[in-house]
């Protein structure tokens, strides 16, 4: 205080003796000076004084000089020092925190900074004024402007966000400051951006657009990733802001390959370095990084984004790195817890990733599956509560939408796998189910319940599970044991856990319903619980759950347990409780505070063990079934319990009943048809026998027939008379036809004969033709010879001097003239003309064969008559 007073003295001069000026008076004088002084130095001094007073006299300074300070910002931009004082003064006025100086001043309201902020931002230009000052390179000015904006954002985040959003380049200017080489400004800007981006998707997108991720990763890497200081944490917090519930930015993050860039963050230190332990800052940094991973694959994102991110995380080795953290030693518990949650969300619903997690082996001795180790922690009382919750969530994620992992869990409980000496997840859960630790009971029930979700096969498989209880007594089924435990335990959590397990198990599974109904005391206990009349939230919940399970037992009842058939249970309820009471009890479940808490998010978000009671998936089951069950119960009740199919008001249960009756009808029809088939089969058999008999007799008769035929033919070839007489006796016309046929046959034979004869004739004619041809050839040859000889003689005669005349030589060649005339060229080249006879001769030589047909027909006609006669004789 002395400091301020001496400061004031220098500015204002010594106070008049006897009069102590009030703070307001002093401020007034200072404002006056800032407004009216012509000397810059005076204005600067006054501003410095105002800054000094602004902490103690915040109200006065704020009320009197806000406008003056704005003016300074506008008019004195040339003087950085003055601007700096003005900014600091405004910042003090707006400060969201209470100053030491104000602590015992009752006149300063708690939210004074917020009130001044509200006044200040009424004029949007004021924000622009400060944004413009961000361009100032001067260190103090820039820093003060950033700090002032941070204060303003702290006080009125929504309003300032909206104002900055509509200022073009507003966000961009702040982003530019991230690149400031002066680390103080960069770090303050980070804080500013964290405040600026909180809960405003549009600003988040612009910041991401301005390469925020690149810059942040640059800073993170230059600071040494998880080993870096608080700046790394600030960067990560800003990233977290940018990604939270912002699918556009998540998409950008994924497309920009930033998931890969997170990897160095999770590199586990080499074995030796672990002894040093984790610094608190490193814990915070890794924790933030894990939160970023979880933001990308959070169940509240769209399925496509989750699936894409999960696949990338597996591909780039992020999931692997996370599992390494799980398996390495020396990891602080809260990091381990968060890593378990993160691994869970990385595998949730992605079969490949779930399989990967299922195959992770811990470097323990003996080597155990990671999943088994996790479950061991879950059912271990000594482990931290949050860690156990995380394991449950991770295990739920491992089972989520994965029939294979559900089946393999149930498989470990089935008799076939009992020879395995190693601890299995199923055994751990069963152990947890019946342990004395109530949380283990609850965790195990819920984990088992998740193996049954939407999986009717495993519901039936789990029915086969038998437990060896006391030595000597026969093994008891798991369901039976659960029912027993439900009646015996006094602990609420265990009861609720078991009831949820039983509800999930029996829903949509008639076999499980009847198994439960057969378990001794089960129904009676449920009815007693439902009828109970205690007034307490948890008691109401218990009553509601019991009623819900009873309703499931009625709705999914296939009437296979005589004592507790659908109708008898319904009557029991009507008599003991009354339908109205019953339905109101059922609806109690969803009124429980923890039900509402649990139904919001798949992860159990309990801080203390008392908050653990209801599971998310059970809430889903309840939501789906509640109305169906109540409708099916009440409508049947109104119509009397007799005919379930009559007059339905609700379409759903009506449909259900309709289908049921349809199935029943079809069942009856099936039975009927089966018996018919039986009868028909018998009939078929007897007919087959009869057929065989007749076939045998038939072949017998055939043999007889052939025998007789043979006899007949034999008698025909021998004397003959007996057979013709037989035929003539039968029908005179037959004989007539036979005669005709014989006649026709005879004709055919005669025609054949004729054909043969004519063919023969043709053959002989052809032969003759050949002969004639040959003769002709011979003659031609002869002729040629003669010709040659003639020529020779002629030549000889000429050589002997005897004149040769054609006339005298004619007489000897007279006989050969016809051939010469036939072949005009023959005289000159008779040898060459040997060929033409083949082509030229036929017209003449073919004549005889043509004539041969009529000539050969002649004898046929002659021979025909005797043949006819012969035929007629036959």
């Amino acid at each position: 205080m002395d400091f301020f007073k001496s400061g004031l003295k220098t500015v204002l001069g010594a106070p008049e003796p006897g009069h102590q000026p009030t703070g307001a008076e002093t401020v007034e004088r200072l404002v006056d000076r800032v407004n009216n002084s012509t000397l810059l130095e005076d204005r600067r001094d006054a501003c410095r004084a105002l800054k000094a007073m602004s902490r103690t006299y915040r109200v006065e300074v704020g009320a009197l000089c806000l406008d003056t300070l704005k003016q300074v910002l506008e008019l004195d931009r040339a003087d950085n020092e003055t601007i700096n004082y003005a900014l600091d003064t405004i910042n003090n006025i707006m400060s969201p925190t209470q100053f030491e100086e104000e602590e015992d001043n009752p006149r300063v309201p708690m939210n004074i900074g917020e009130q001044f902020t509200e006044m200040f931002i009424k004029d949007h230009n004021n924000i622009q004024l400060i944004l413009d000052l961000l361009d100032e390179y001067d260190f103090r000015v820039r820093l003060s402007a950033v700090q002032l904006l941070t204060s303003l954002l702290t006080n009125r985040p929504k309003d300032i966000q909206e104002i900055i959003l509509v200022k073009p380049m507003g966000v961009s200017k702040m982003m530019d400051l991230l690149g400031d080489t002066r680390e103080v400004i960069r770090n303050e800007t980070l804080l500013l951006l964290i405040k600026l981006t909180k809960g405003n998707a549009n600003i988040q997108k612009i910041v991401a657009f301005e390469n925020a991720f690149d810059r942040l990763f640059e800073i993170v890497s230059s600071e040494g990733y998880s080993d870096g200081g608080i700046i790394v944490e600030d960067c990560l917090l800003l990233m977290l802001n940018l990604l939270k519930n912002n699918s556009s930015n998540i998409n950008f993050f994924k497309e920009g390959s930033y998931i890969q860039k997170m990897l160095p963050m999770f590199n586990t230190p080499p074995e030796g370095a672990e002894e040093e332990g984790w610094s608190p800052q490193k814990v915070s940094n890794v924790h933030c990084m894990l939160l970023i991973v979880r933001t990308l694959v959070s169940p509240s994102n769209s399925a496509q984004i989750i699936s894409n991110c999960q696949k990338i995380m597996k591909k780039v080795g992020l999931l692997d790195a996370l599992c390494n953290i799980l398996m390495s030693s020396g990891v602080p518990a809260d990091i381990l817890t968060e890593t378990i949650n993160t691994v869970g969300e990385c595998v949730r619903g992605d079969v490949a990733n779930q399989e990967f997690l299922g195959n992770v082996m811990a470097p323990s001795n003996p080597p155990r599956a990671c999943i088994v180790l996790l479950l061991m922690s879950m059912v271990n009382e000594k482990q931290p509560f949050s860690l156990r919750c995380a394991v449950l969530y991770c295990f739920e994620c491992y089972l989520y939408h994965n029939e294979t992992s559900q089946a393999s869990l149930v498989q470990t409980l089935l008799p076939s796998s009992t020879e395995m000496s190693t601890l299995t997840s199923g055994q751990l859960l069963c152990g947890g189910l019946f342990s004395s630790d109530v949380l283990s009971n609850w965790f195990s029930s819920v984990a088992l319940m998740h193996a049954l979700i939407e999986n009717p096969i495993q519901k039936e498989q789990l029915l086969r599970v038998l437990l060896a209880t006391n030595i000597g007594s026969s093994p008891v089924s798991l369901l039976h044991q659960c029912t027993l435990l439900l009646q015996q335990t006094t602990k609420l959590k265990a009861k609720v856990g078991l009831l949820m397990l039983l509800c999930q198990w029996t829903s949509h599974c008639a076999a499980a319903v009847s198994a439960f109904l057969r378990a001794p005391g089960g129904v009676a206990w449920l009815v007693a619980q439902t009828c109970a009349n205690e007034h307490d939230d948890n008691e109401f919940l218990l009553q509601g759950l019991s009623a819900f399970l009873l309703a499931i037992c009625i709705h999914f009842n296939d009437d296979s347990v005589e004592q507790y058939s659908k109708d008898s249970l319904r009557q029991l309820l009507t008599k003991r409780i009354g339908m109205e009471m019953f339905t109101s009890k059922v609806s109690e479940v969803s009124k429980h505070e923890l039900y509402n808490k649990a139904s919001k998010h798949p992860q159990l978000r309990a801080k203390i063990a008392a908050d653990v009671l209801i599971d998310y998936e059970f809430c889903r089951l309840f939501k789906v079934l509640e109305s169906v069950l109540i409708q099916s119960l009440t409508t049947t009740h109104e119509n009397g319990t007799g005919e379930p199919a009559a007059g339905r008001t609700s379409p759903e249960s009506g449909n259900l009943e309709q289908y049921k009756s349809l199935i029943r009808q079809q069942d009856a029809r099936l039975q009927e048809l089966m018996s018919q088939v039986e009868g028909l089969l018998q009939q078929n058999q007897s007919l087959q026998g009869a057929l065989n008999d007749s076939i045998a007799s038939n072949s017998h008769l055939k043999d007889e027939n052939t025998l007789l035929k043979a006899q007949v033919s034999a008698s025909k070839t021998l004397p003959g008379p007996p057979a013709p007489s037989l035929t003539s006796q039968e029908d005179p016309r037959v004989k007539e036809y036979e005669g005709k046929i014989q006649g026709l046959l005879a004709e055919v034979t005669s025609l054949k004969e004729q054909l043969r004869v004519s063919q023969e004739g043709q053959k002989t004619a052809a032969e003759e033709l050949e002969k004639v041809k040959k003769d002709q050839d011979d003659l031609l040859e002869l002729l040629a010879d003669q010709d040659m000889k003639l020529n020779e003689y002629k030549m000889r005669l000429t050589s002997l001097g005897q004149p040769v005349e054609d006339e005298p030589s004619e007489p000897p060649s007279e006989t050969i003239t016809p051939p010469v005339s036939l072949f005009p060229s023959a005289p000159t080249a008779p040898l060459v003309n040997m060929l033409p006879p083949d082509t030229g001769a036929p017209p003449i030589n073919m004549a005889p064969p043509v004539n041969m047909f009529p000539s050969s027909n002649m004898p046929q006609h002659v021979t025909r008559a005797p043949q006819d006669q012969l035929n007629e004789l036959v």
Binding site: P168, N202, K205, I206, D214, N251, G317
Partner: protein, 229 residues
Amino acid sequence: MAYAYLFKYIIIGDTGVGKSCLLLQFTDKRFQPVHDLTIGVEFGARMITIDGKQIKLQIWDTAGQEAFRSITRSYYRGAAGALLVYDITRRDTFNHLTTWLEDARQHSNSNMVIMLIGNKSDLESRREVKKEEGEAFAREHGLVFMETSAKTAANVEEAFINTAKEIYEKIQEGVFDINNEANGIKIGPQHSTAGGASGAGGAGAGGLKRRGAAVCNEHWYETYSMPDL
């Protein structure tokens, strides 16, 4: 994953002209007939190849409504390319082009490539703006012009790719300062050292260094992309 360059685009224009549909057609090759109002800005990305180089396009699809105008202004500065879209069946969307262009020129860097797009070319029967008018407007303001149909995908690829080609040419000409990310251009991971070396100048030694770096980086790229497969 690896790319030579990364270009940032924005798509601007009146509401309902089909900006989001153009983006959807380009990134997902599908058409969504129902108008789903864009709130603020949405993001999409795709890889293309120009001149044998892989180029990653990051596209911000802005809301056309007046209410979001001030928000979308923040995106001009960091973009290397803009698709300015109007609807050929609505003359008013064409008339507003001047305002959009002024806005863009005022807030963007001067080298931003602007492609003018007349969308809905499949609705020829309802056409109100002639193709020639669009061409004339583009000529007058120094824009590239194209008519597209987000529904039939006609010219959609071309619009995005031609814009990228234009930017690429500007880079080759040295117009863009590729080391300033505020221009909406980023050099891919395997090119960053090469880019630095090329900035050093065309000296023989520089050229050698650059080649050496390229070879080394190719190897790195190969080993890097292995787990991706």
